[in-house]
Amino acid sequence: MNTSKFVAKRLGQLVLVLLGVTLVTFLVSHVVPGDPARMLIGQRADEQTLAAMRQALGLDKPVWIQYLNYLWGLIHGDLGTSIRTQRPVLNELLSFFPATVELTLFAMGFAVSIGILLGLLSATFRDTLTDHATRILAILGVSTPLFWLGLMALLLFYKYLGWLPGSGRLDPLINPPTHITGLYVVDSLISGDWIALKSSILHLVLPSLCLGYIQLATIARLVRASMIEVLELDYIKTASANGIPRSRIIYRHALRNALIPTVTIIGLTFGELLGGAILTETIFAWPGMGKFVVDSISFLDFPAIMGFTLVVATVYVLINMVVDLLYPLLDPQIKGVH
């Protein structure tokens, strides 16, 4: 299969996945007790106003009609209207999306770079102090609940030490950089706004480190295990016997192969990061999609929740598609597969 065929197939799968996601979220939203119309107009409104509101929201029609209406809207790029804010869900999500992407990318970058480095150190200096320290760090990572880690980080670095800001994306006194990508770091770099750049980076530190830490642990453990496995293989012995220096064997011959399983995990990791972002954004008052959806949940704002779910599912599928496309670059043997 060639690349374009593969992409087409994946996109086809994406449509099916999204259909499934809408169906499930739609059904869930209709079995959950609670009446969004009531939430919106308040407890004291009379029956007539309520009925009018229900009609306005389309809640008076049979469920399957509502579902088809929803799908019809989706095809036209309409994710419905947020009950809470009364603005189109798509616009809401788009305005919060860059903040989440920025947070997730930084968390990811941190987790991947430091995770690979730690895994590499651990495997190279196997059974030494470096190895033990790294592994303890990794075990702590997989066993620390994110909210606890976030709160502790806030307490220590924000409240007591005061080294880092603890909420939001920017110092409130600073104007956001010119909107280009919506990622503050990128935008301020492009527009040369060094004050905004510094502030946005400082604001990113705590949330992205907390969010990335757990994934870092997973990646470090995986890289360690696969490095150790690879270092035992025949071609490593060939390289040694041919006089290739140990350091070069490690970073060129072994790491390259050890990274193959890691890349898959990085794709899956991204999904977990998106999930973790909801919690992180809440803890650090990060104005992203996660915070938006938490606010929507407490309001039973189903169009908003469903829109969020769709976006996350889409990003997840696309990221894993990219990972699968990268795979053959690392592992020539599966070139034939797609």
Binding site: L233, K237, I244
Partner: protein, 324 residues
């Protein structure tokens, strides 16, 4: 003539909680420039260990050279640092292994793996390394070497990979090739081809070869001299014509009796009664005595030395008259 490689009383131990296993128990042999020496013995007798010791490739965490010396071009290798070994490996002494399937890195093209070594050892430019690499691939009789430069190892057969590995091993002018069962994992039909290739290429380069094998027929066809190993010792060594036609050591005799014809198909060495000794608690005296049909009393008490019985022919056995 000065030997290229001279191993004297080499002892290698494996350390474990159960104690030290004397896996090489005082090995002696010499290898002369341009010579093709066969090293035979049952599985576990220490053949690979011998080759790995020469190249400093013993597992660092549990193996030690307890005693002895390895002289290469008159220079002591025992005790050299990893860095000093690196300068020898691939440049003065090379090795090819039994299993060619996984001996090339699956992530890199053949060309990149061959040129890497040339660039490393000869400091040539990438362009020069490429022409050299193609020349070497042609030299090991790989058809269409330019195309092979651009393929990945998984696209090649076992025989082709072994050719590539041989080219890599010889490309930087090694004087000694350690070939550890280089054809055992290959298809029977190409074993002879690869052996002939090793033979011809090293002949024309003047490279000495230590050929490790299970197969006495291979020894008979390709080697000038042979050393027979048993449980960490060399029990007999000498010119192939002497050792295989007029074996002196009971173990060598048993091996040859287990073989229907020397030029027949491959035959394993296992058809001698008894088992290879456990290295943690090896038999006292001559390690072969529990399996030896002509063992005497002193065989259990003392270890026989490897001594000359004829011109260039050495045997370690109490039954040999010179030991009296």
């Amino acid at each position: 003539m000065e030997p290229l490689l001279k191993i004297k009383d080499l002892h290698v131990d494996f350390l474990s909680y159960a104690g030290a296993a004397h896996a090489l128990n005082g090995i002696d042999f010499e290898l002369f420039p341009g010579e093709f020496l066969g090293l035979v013995g049952e599985s576990g007798s220490g053949k690979s260990l011998t080759a790995n010791s020469v190249l400093g490739l013993l597992p660092r965490k549990n193996a030690v050279i307890a005693k002895g010396s390895i002289l290469f071009e008159g220079e002591e290798l025992v005790g050299k640092s990893e860095r000093e070994y690196q300068a020898l490996r691939g440049k003065k002494i090379s090795m090819v292994f039994q299993e060619p399937m996984n001996a090339l890195n699956p992530a890199f093209k053949i060309g990149s793996q061959v040129t890497e070594i040339l660039k490393l050892h000869q400091g040539v430019t990438a362009k020069k390394a490429r022409t050299e690499a193609v020349r070497w691939l042609a030299r090991v009789r790989i058809p269409h070497p330019e195309e092979i430069m651009n393929v990945y190892p998984f696209e090649l057969s076992g025989g082709m990979r072994q050719r590539v590995l041989l080219a890599m091993a010889l490309s930087c002018g090694s004087k000694l090739l350690l070939a550890d069962e280089p054809t055992t994992a290959l298809d029977v039909s190409i074993q002879a081809q690869i052996l002939r290739l090793i033979r011809d290429t090293t002949d024309s380069l003047g490279t000495s070869v230590l050929l490790i094998t299970h197969d006495l027929a291979v020894v008979a066809q390709t080697c000038q001299r042979v050393a027979v190993m048993y449980s960490g010792n060399i029990v007999e060594s000498g010119p192939v014509s002497n050792v295989l036609r007029l074996p002196r050591h009971p173990y060598t005799k048993a091996l040859l009796q287990a073989l229907p014809h020397l030029d027949g198909p491959i035959k394993a060495l296992q058809s001698i009664p008894g088992t290879v000794p456990n290295l943690l608690t090896p038999p006292s005296g001559c390690r072969f005595h529990p399996r030896c049909s002509v063992a005497e009393k002193r065989c259990q008490a003392d270890r026989p030395k490897l001594l000359s019985v004829a011109e260039n022919h050495y045997v370690a056995c109490w039954r040999e008259s010179h030991h009296v």
